[in-house]
Symmetry: C2
Subunit: 286 residues, 2 copies
């Protein structure tokens, strides 16, 4: 398998893009992918004060590195959730990342709020989500940031969407956009610069760039049923995940005024309705 760009030995075969690339060309490709996405969906602007929420995982490490590469300035925020070795190792990774990228790292300890995640037995994930959203937003606002960027991937968004629609949580599903502007002065904008990038793409970039990141899931991580469903669909329909999350960004245009077909008088979107167009093509008597 050869790199489609330079002919060197390829390290990646990107089915969604039908392209094979070598290490150097992949890193360039990934950078341009993220850059184009940020531009197209107006996810971040270089005039903003940006806070990056980082976890020590591959996705947020890749996000920090690539944003730096394409010329964004930002600070990072790590929330220490107090999950034993997992939190300790993750913190170490973000500290290494901060040194490597020469980007300021802020750390908030959940225990300063009087509790840690392991206390929330039985509802760890929902408590963790609430705590992270609260702290990200409050820290960002109190420290003068305009926007918090998170490392959510295309698979995160697609699986979250399916899960929520299937659970009658349509309202939640509506929030899955690459950028959400604040609806109140106390709320800071949210950005997802990797919303159309897949986990595999982030992983490959993180490995090729030798970024520090912690592999392995949080011990409380739920069975990733919906993620696996999304992976399965992607296997059968390469490109599904990307198309799906892009689909979520499309605003539904209200139909313009109703028109009537100049031939048959039925409703039409243009001068002639689709049925009469078909008839005029296939019917000899028409």
């Amino acid at each position: 398998m050869k790199c489609k760009k330079c002919g060197k030995k390829a390290v990646a075969n990107l089915r969604a893009y039908r392209i094979s690339l070598c290490a150097d060309c992949y890193v360039e490709f990934y950078k341009r992918l993220v850059e184009r996405s940020i531009k197209k969906y107006k996810i971040l602007s270089k005039e903003e004060q940006i806070l990056l929420a980082v976890s020590g995982g591959k996705d947020s490490s890749a996000m920090a590195s690539v944003l730096k590469e394409i010329g964004f300035e930002f600070e990072m925020l790590y929330i220490d959730l107090g999950i034993g070795d997992y939190s300790r190792d993750s913190k170490q990774k973000v500290e290494e990342l901060s040194d490597l990228l020469k980007v300021r790292l802020n750390i908030v300890e959940l225990k300063d709020y009087g509790f840690t995640i392991p206390q929330a037995r039985g509802r760890v994930c929902s408590v963790c989500g609430t705590a992270k959203r609260y702290i990200m937003n409050r820290f960002a606002r109190e420290n003068g940031f305009d926007v918090v960027a998170t490392g959510h991937t295309a698979e995160d968004i697609a699986s979250f969407y399916l899960k929520n629609i299937a659970g009658n949580q349509q309202a939640f599903a509506e929030k899955l956009l690459p950028r959400i502007e604040p609806f109140d002065a106390k709320v800071v904008a949210r950005a997802r610069p990797l919303f159309e990038i897949s986990e595999k793409e982030n992983m490959l970039y993180a490995i090729l760039k030798k970024l520090p990141f912690k592999s392995g899931e949080c011990l409380y991580a739920p069975k990733p049923d919906w993620k696996e469903i999304v992976y399965d669909i992607e296997l059968k329909k390469p490109g599904f995940v990307k198309n799906f999350v892009r689909g979520l960004t499309v605003e539904v245009k209200k139909p313009s005024e109703t028109r009537y077909c100049s031939i048959c008088g039925e409703i039409a979107s243009g001068d002639i309705c689709s049925f009469c167009k078909i008839r005029s093509k296939f019917s000899k008597s028409f």
Copy 2:
């Protein structure tokens, strides 16, 4: 496996409802399922002039039979698309159905419009869709019907939705509701009385009631990729399809006025924000 209702030998194990039923109890169960769905989503009313679009397949045959059973009056419409033996056999089935149910059957021949489906090589399915929608709507309006009901199933809706979202056709996806009111005087309302009923449920009802229906797909039917994806998800998550299509009906409520937490001052949906609720539970110092 015994019927959960009467103890007789069960013929069906409905995973989505976690219930096993015998033939008689299943027929009753199915009837009540459709009846409740029609009521809940206001899909059809007994005061309306209803036209049922029937194809000769299991779904629309089941729809006609069950609507009759639960006391709806209607006429049926069969559109002869001119697809050789397939159309001929299908027509025969709807004629038998019409005799059995003692319901008037109307037949429109596409060839009266000067062409038949096999002429549209290469784009058969899109031409067929356009032709059916056009004829259903026009026939219904010109003959004084208030609503056209089609036999779309939960799987049809879920797979169509995923396919369209993945294809950036969000606008299309928005139309997948159990009832769509006309946006213009030339348009007749559309209803999908089986929108939360699965194909398997229709099939079982059609078999147990010994309804006439044609099995076997149209020879032009595309590879049912998206349907199979939906079946796969349902296998892994029994109940997915039903929950999914119900999810599509949920209107997103605009958040009411923003409130602020009486403890920390951050935004909240009630008097106290979710983070402070968590803190008050877990933190000793709070």
